[in-house]
Symmetry: C2
């Protein structure tokens, strides 16, 4: 496989590069270093099979040159703004980084005759839907610009897959945790404790409850979906077992960092920020039918992530 | 009401302007005359309550000036590329005319504090889904760039409605027929018969079957949905009774134009063009619950449209 990983120096992208290189693939890692970090891939740069390019996927001319030179046959499109709260402050941010990067990739694939695409989807496209969300659930009513831009991207993926003969795999991620993350609830707590070890501020009332998946388990899910699925457009949901509340995460972080005595102060309200979906659950039976198994409980994924983040040097 | 109708000189937009003026509203009609035609609204221009501006909704600076000057309180966003086949030839067309016009309207509303919005949706967002399609149906897997761009627009409508306090009504149109249409199956047939009265070419195998709604009945549906709905985002489907095949439409057009003896020649294949959805049906119970009633069978809508188009001078 001659694979392009967009956002490849980011949190999830760099873990995917690790796995692809370990499997013996050739990897072109593209990142504008907006959220991605060079140190996430520094250990890969000695490999002859790994090529890093600092560039923006929105630069269609350079993207086209890369397709022509590298003779790519597989695209893993992970470049995105993954910081939902930041997107609500600037309406253009999610549109450009989530939707326009996707249509740039799609149009470049069409022009260069590349047909195999992986896309990083999200539960945020469902808005505040209740119950265990199956891949076919409707209606889709996102409440954040992050969710809207990812849904818009999925809309074009679907049309391109059917019109132009692509083979596209969408895996809609749950909340993903692990080392190399640059934001998210665990990092937020660690940063706050660095500044004030006596009191931990929790956005919302602490009852927000979501499924967390350890990044290594997500990479397994990506590769199972990639290898096992067929047809123009295959969509999957991945999650571990169960869900975890923000209050529980706060307690895990406090215990792991030796601040068990610190006070937890909730800012109140049912959610952390406008556009936050306070609770969701996935139906993962479709991915399980391909042979993927969740290896951990959501809360164990959080514990493992806190450990690895500490070991990795926060 | 001080209403902006985008695409107001177009087929459906001009009928909506007629009705709003008849109801005593103030109407600002905006159209770039890409598909719209000045003669569709010529009869309205003597009214003091009617204002026409030839401009592009994508010109955000001019759109903002209009919002400021006209003190608008209701937006009916109908500007779009409604020619699905044209959109498959140029991947940028639907993106710009369907999605970017919508995000321009949304962002201008947010900046000017205007909260009431109507949006012209479409069944094309469902792709090749079977059964009677309810508003909550999933998955949404469009097979045309037209469908993708309208789904992308709906995605941002949902996020803006929930984040910024808009009150948005989406009516997903079926196939709409009537006088002033500039394309579509009836016009296509009339044009072909003009050129060759002995033989009528039908794209596909003629079995494509869809619900057709007369434009006057659609305007009723728009206004019922507009007046009766509440909440940040209300979505409805409208259709008449039953569906009509392309073969039946061909026969109606031949009979109405005195070419009953002409041959019908189907080009073959199950659809008219890439991205065409050959069959669909709507569940319209949600709009019926608001008091709207379909007044005609789909095939009677086609007959009425052919009559009115002839009377209007094709």
């Amino acid at each position: 496989m001659r694979a392009l990983v967009t956002g490849g120096a980011g949190f999830i992208g760099s873990h995917l590069c690790d796995r692809l290189i370990a499997q013996g693939e050739h990897v072109w890692c593209v990142d504008n270093l907006h959220l991605g970090q060079r140190r996430n891939i520094a250990h890969l740069e000695k490999s002859n099979a790994f090529h890093f390019l600092e560039m923006d996927v929105l630069d269609r001319a350079r993207l086209g040159e890369l397709f022509a030179e590298a003779k790519l046959d597989a695209i893993f499109h992970l470049a995105a703004n993954s910081d939902i709260a930041a997107g609500s402050a600037d309406p253009e941010l999610d549109f450009r980084l989530n939707e326009l990067t996707t249509t740039a990739v799609l149009e470049t694939m069409r022009r260069h005759g590349v047909t195999r695409l992986f896309f990083a989807g999200t539960s945020a496209i469902f808005g505040e839907a209740h119950g265990a969300l199956h891949e076919d659930f409707g209606p889709l009513a996102p409440i954040s610009l992050y969710g809207a831009s990812k849904l818009a991207a999925e809309a074009y993926l679907s049309a391109y897959a059917h019109l132009y003969g692509l083979r596209t795999v969408v895996l809609r991620f749950p909340n993903v945790v692990g080392e190399r993350a640059t934001h998210g609830v665990i990092y937020d707590f660690l940063r706050k404790l660095d500044q004030n070890p006596r009191e931990l501020e929790v956005l919302g009332d602490g009852t927000q409850t979501k499924p967390y998946l350890y990044v290594g388990d997500l990479i397994d899910a990506i590769l199972v979906a990639w290898e096992q699925s067929s047809g123009p457009l295959a969509v999957y949901h991945a999650a571990g077992v169960g869900e975890t509340s923000v209050q529980e995460i706060a307690e895990i972080v406090l215990a792991a960092t030796g601040h068990a005595g610190a006070a937890i102060r909730c800012t109140g309200g049912d959610r952390g920020w406008p556009g936050d979906v306070p609770k969701f659950r996935y139906d993962i039976s479709r991915l399980q039918a391909l042979g993927w198994r969740p290896r951990r409980h959501s809360t164990d994924a959080v514990r493992l992530a806190v450990e690895r983040i500490k070991a990795n040097g926060f």
